[in-house]
Symmetry: C2
Subunit: 380 residues, 2 copies
């Protein structure tokens, strides 16, 4: 019988953060692609586009005019998925009776919240990858401001825990409706599925697993799943894409689903949210964000599409002493082989489980192997 | 304070089959779309395409030649995600020691299986929606044959439970690499995430919830989550798209994520897999599949893209008496507003939780309101 070789043979990996598995099929990278291809991103964008609703001075859909902003600019999404109306929080649906009855199957629970947009830069033609580290630090400052303000809004209007989800959809392939560099912030009266499951697993780990001694821990000495994982990745190196000495590491996580998925997280200490960053960690975050995004763009020499999201402590700004939240960034980019060939997470992936072709280690190596100078700036 | 109105106000719904929530934002359907649009499906296809690797008589990538098949044709996928090699089943990775240690985070578990393709019809230009009910019944027969054969392969080569996942990726938007009507069958040495979670929840329901008296049950009198749900939907009507008297109902499930998602399932009795269908139920299944797919195509007058998958009992053919599996079909179609505007499940949906705009009830009504005659056959 053949010896098992994870770089050659199909296998399954486990994600302790979500409790889900991924099927890895390393031998399948040889498959030719005959299906749909994506349109290349066209042409040079102007520095200011009079038709862009995010550019300084322009009018938005709702009729409001953007100020002549200098670095970042936050405004209310004109088509929010959540509304701040003071709806009752307890299920008002009389059908929700028992916890597992038939009528419970048909219970809708009212929720509220609000949606904001954050422009990263006045220039229409820039991306985070093309911005200077100081400009990216201004974005981090912008995130801190909106995270804190939205947290206060939650605290002032409810007793339950809520959540401030910061994210970016980058590129038309990821549903972004404008190329102008911007992200979104959705504030919710509850903790949504993904961070809720992560927080549960972080708590479970702290309770069930003894601290290893060789990894940093929570202040109370308990094991932090994400800190242990990050420290271990720094030691193992094979999945590391970038390290910043201030305490950040970017890896293609062992359990990655998307071909070039990245997890960016602290490896030195427990940091529940971006509000607890030291000045050094904040500057380091801006540096490593830029480095990761330059590598992404260089991989297929195109503005690399992705969805990026920030997971951290619920209901800022005051983080409880015993919080098990550990700040981290997920990057989910769809491209697989070139600027026009993406990975489809469809039939089997929807009905069976997540599946990937190249291994996380192979993806990390490819990202390490590209230049760290943006391809548009490279001299011939 | 405003009274909560689920057709107007943001709310959250719970999916008892997966244990996950979806955020519903009914007011958001007014949002204009300025992002990426999909290419319209072009032109008339020929009945036979000499360059199609699925047409009868043509040569495939691997060099093999397709027979002149009459109805369905099953062959081995030339680029399978799984390999049948007799790899050891127990984790051979020496690092997998404790259940929740750090080294367990880096454990790869070898898996095996095989991947087949099933052509639904010799004609290149047909789709399930355009086929006659008798021809669709031949596809059901084809699924039964491959489900049984793959189950035998699993039984003969391992002791653990395995799974035979039948699915279809339809349309370039869903990663299908050829328009020729076909589906796939992935056989796995383990039960993948999605059906595993469903089976767990079906079992949990049978154990924890008393049978209601007004709904059909498992043969042992225990409550079946999916049977109770289906019977209740038939009574409530508002989410029903099609019913077939043989015992099938197609609904936009209460907890649907995709805009026009459909769940097709039995509402009269416990049926663990397609192998247990009566002749009447099998004919009814073919009829309702056609009706659902005609409504899909008619909604935006286009060949409606979707991923479809069949969930049923693990490791056929012999189903244990006490099996809690209940056969059902999921349809996940991406289109939202027209043949070219899709729903993107990106940033918030990836980082926070699933989100939809129109309600399940509104989607079901739209599907009921379109004609049941295929738009290409409608007289002017
Ligand atoms: O095997 P196919 O049809 O070429 O490939 C398609 O379906 C597979 C199973 O859902 C996916 O893994 C692929 O990403 C998709 O392109
Ligand atoms: O609000 P936007 O950027 O127009 O919309 C985009 O991001 C949202 C949040 O991930 C998604 O719900 C939409 O499907 C997507 O198109």
């Amino acid at each position: 019988s053949v010896a098992f070789e994870p770089t050659e043979h199909p296998h399954r990996r486990y994600n302790p953060l979500t409790g889900k598995h991924v099927l890895v099929s390393p031998h399948r990278t040889k498959r030719p692609w005959m299906g749909q291809t994506e349109e290349p991103v066209v042409a040079q964008l102007p520095k200011h586009d009079s038709k862009c609703y995010l550019c300084p001075g322009n009018e938005r859909m709702g009729g409001e005019k953007n100020p002549d902003y200098d670095n970042t600019f936050v405004f209310n999404n004109d088509f929010p998925a959540l509304l701040p109306a003071p709806l009752p929080f307890l299920p008002s649906n009389p059908e929700e009776s028992g916890p597992e009855s038939i009528s419970q199957m048909f219970a809708s629970r009212p929720v509220r919240g609000r949606c904001k947009v954050i422009c990263f830069h006045p220039r229409h033609d820039l991306t985070l990858a093309m911005m200077r580290p100081e400009e990216i630090e201004a974005v981090v400052e912008g995130w801190k401001g909106v995270y804190e303000a939205e947290g206060r809004f939650l605290r002032e209007s409810q007793r339950e825990e809520g959540y401030v989800q910061i994210f970016e959809n980058r590129g038309a392939m990821m549903g972004a409706s404008a190329p102008h560099p911007h992200g979104q912030v959705w504030t919710l009266s509850y903790v949504p599925e993904e961070p809720a499951v992560e927080l549960e697993n972080l708590e479970g780990h702290a309770t069930a697993v003894a601290a290893s001694g060789s990894h940093p821990t929570y202040p109370d000495g308990k094991a932090c799943l994400l800190l242990s994982y990050a420290a271990e990745e720094v030691a193992r190196k094979e999945r590391v894409v970038e390290i910043d000495e201030s305490g950040w590491v970017a890896v293609v996580p062992f359990w990655a689903i998307w071909p070039f998925e990245i997890l960016l997280l602290p490896y030195k200490r427990h940091i529940p949210s971006i509000l607890q960053l030291t000045a050094d960690e904040q500057a380091g975050l801006a540096r490593i964000l830029k480095k990761v995004l330059v590598r992404y763009d260089n991989l297929f020499k195109c503005p690399f599409p992705y969805s990026m999201g920030l997971h951290q402590a619920p209901t800022p700004p005051s983080v409880p002493e015993e919080s098990r939240a550990q700040v981290h960034f997920h990057f989910y980019p769809p491209l697989l082989r070139s600027a026009s060939v993406r990975k489809f997470l469809v039939g089997f992936e929807m009905m069976g489980e997540a599946q990937r072709d190249l291994t996380a280690e192979q993806a990390a190596k490819r990202l390490r192997d590209v230049s760290d100078v943006h391809y548009t700036l490279e001299k011939e």
